[in-house]
Symmetry: C2
Subunit: 379 residues, 2 copies
């Protein structure tokens, strides 16, 4: 592992593990959920509010930041932490995934990818080396290799080719990274829904050697069962003493099932995006606040939650804010959702430490299934 | 004055006064600026954040609230204070101004106004009595009479007619209000830019007797000099021992000049609306954060300001948020602007109390005029 960082496992329960990834800018308690701070902001929240949810680390998107405001500009302003006012660890992705999903025109070759910005149409190029240069300019704490991620379903030949290209780029990324003290580099397992390709990718990355190992190319259109089957194959093939990060996942159910299979880190836009679209995550499952049934409901989202957004505002008020497209609606639901995800992770960590993870998952799922359809209290 | 409320003047400096309007839900230090909470939310802020700016009172819009979520619904949920989570005083307008400016179709008659909702086209009617009924359902602390407000420039005949109709509605409003203990009713002076009509309106309202007197029909298209000339005529004609409220005003300059003429209360959407459009109010005047000159500027809006939005974020970051249309940009600039307005009012109150109001206004205007065009500090 690169000097200045360390990963410790404090307890296991089956394949699930809890511990801590220590970085110079802070300790990440695992399993961890990383709120997505796409363009230098976790949308609709201040960083103080993000911190208050219990998040130890956030994610920044290289694609968005390289285009606007630009990596060199952020470096001149003192780096992403100072720019965005987040002093804990930040993980940056390589930019590759967003190039494929957002850029108007893109052309992949063996050396990298050329694309046009979705903002102004300007032409840019990402290679494994340039991606790491950008991540260095941002001065993120955990950096990701450039890879090729294929949406599912896909032909085996395409998955095979993308996995092999990603492995080659993994080697180039390791060389370009150079082992910057106190900064981590993660490789990314590809291979789609093909178990043998996943295994080959995991072994190839392990041979190169990384500070952590991500599983990419999942939650890209396949059923949950396929995703979990790939984790069953992949996680045991990765070094037990390094953190494992499932990229872009997912629903609360995806997370608890993936933790069960040995995953330590997650990121997903769901809690923030849902918050901007009127949806609240709660112990009782998802609530769509747009629904007219909330219009006269004086109950809060969850009176037992320790955070204000869930405890202090009536569903009737949240419904009104969402219907009126008030910014405060997005603010409060985003705060609630990120707080819910972080509280879920705290519960996950405690349950593993106490050796009752299976019970925790069963109870949590029962809560989601039970819902909260009770009539508003007469009081 | 209605039982349960009182108005006290602690000091005067020329025509300017400072004191306090005491209501059961809290004390409003005057001169006061009321942030506008149109639809039960001061846009892009939590009520805790509004309170932290030093605001003692907020404004709610009867027009918006009667259409969505509905006054009867808010009453069933426990009133506007509980609904919106603001436990200090709230002033509600009569709804008349927004009917004229927002409703798709409206028809005024001697008894009231019929209009179609700008939200769903449904037909509604406001009369002096229904407006006060709605304000009672909202349970606001200060209620306004329904009036007719005419945009300037206008024919004298139209101004004369609207002023007389407003006076008749003032009488009906007083009767409908009935003197609810601990709740205040304000009359509204009309008369456009005609000094004699303003005087007649002020005398007519004084004869009816209200807890406070608003000046309406200004900042509706006329030059600032016209507005101030109308205040020179109107303010001295109103009872010295009752609060005077200049509706919908205005710029920081409008406010300090109106205080100089004896105005005690203000409301305006400027600080909140500007905050959603990339504009910051500061001691150095207005800054448009959209401007490219801020892109590399590491300085905060105002390092000497005691509030976070002005002190803790670089202009480069704020520029980035505004350019990227990030909600956090609206949140931070709105917080800054409301905090700036409230800090300005605190300065106004202190200067009057210390008998140096003219100097305060001169220094404040010099700050706005000097601007802040200095190059970013090399440090």
């Amino acid at each position: 592992m690169t000097p200045g960082i360390s990963f410790r496992i404090d307890a296991t329960d089956g394949a699930a593990r809890t511990g801590a990834l220590s970085l110079p800018r802070g300790v990440v308690r695992t399993p961890a959920f990383m709120p997505v701070g796409t363009a230098g902001t976790v949308k609709a929240m201040t960083m103080d509010e993000v911190k208050a949810t219990g998040a130890d680390i956030i994610l920044g998107n290289t694609y968005h930041l390289m285009l606007r405001p630009g990596a060199e500009r952020i470096a001149a302003l003192g780096g992403l932490h100072k720019f965005a006012r987040w002093n804990g660890p930040i993980l940056t992705d390589s930019g590759g995934f967003q190039v494929m999903s957002l850029a108007a025109i893109r052309k992949l070759d063996a050396d990298g990818v050329t694309f046009q910005s979705h903002i102004d149409g300007s032409t840019h190029r990402l290679t494994p080396e340039r991606s790491l240069e950008i991540q260095g300019l941002l001065d993120s704490d955990i950096r990701m290799q450039l890879d090729e991620c294929v949406a599912l379903p896909a032909e085996r030949a395409a998955l095979d080719k993308a996995m092999r290209l990603s492995l080659k780029w993994a080697e180039r990324s390791k060389a370009a990274f150079g082992g910057t003290e106190g900064r981590a580099l993660f490789g990314i397992v590809q291979g789609g829904d093909q178990p043998d390709l996943r295994l080959e990718s995991a072994r190839g990355l392990t041979a190169i050697g990384f500070d952590g190992y991500a599983v990419g190319g999942l939650a890209v259109g396949e059923p949950q069962a396929t995703m979990l089957a790939m984790l069953d194959v992949t996680a045991p093939a990765l070094p037990a003493d390094a953190p494992r990060y499932l990229m872009g996942v997912g629903t609360p159910d995806d997370i608890v099932e993936s933790v069960r299979r040995g995953i330590d880190m997650f990121d997903c836009v769901m809690p923030t995006r849902a918050g901007r679209h009127g949806v609240a995550y709660t112990r009782f499952g998802k609530l769509n606040l747009k629904n007219a049934r909330h219009a006269d409901d004086p109950r809060p989202l969850d009176e037992a939650a320790p955070w204000s957004a869930a405890r202090d505002y009536s569903r009737a008020y949240l419904h009104h804010l969402v219907k009126s497209q008030e910014i405060l609606g997005a603010m409060l639901l985003t705060q609630n959702n990120v707080a819910y995800y972080e509280a879920l992770m705290a519960g996950v960590r405690a349950a593993i430490a106490e050796g009752r993870y299976a019970d925790f998952v069963a109870e949590t799922k029962a809560g989601w299934a039970a819902g909260d359809a009770a009539e508003p209290d007469a009081g």
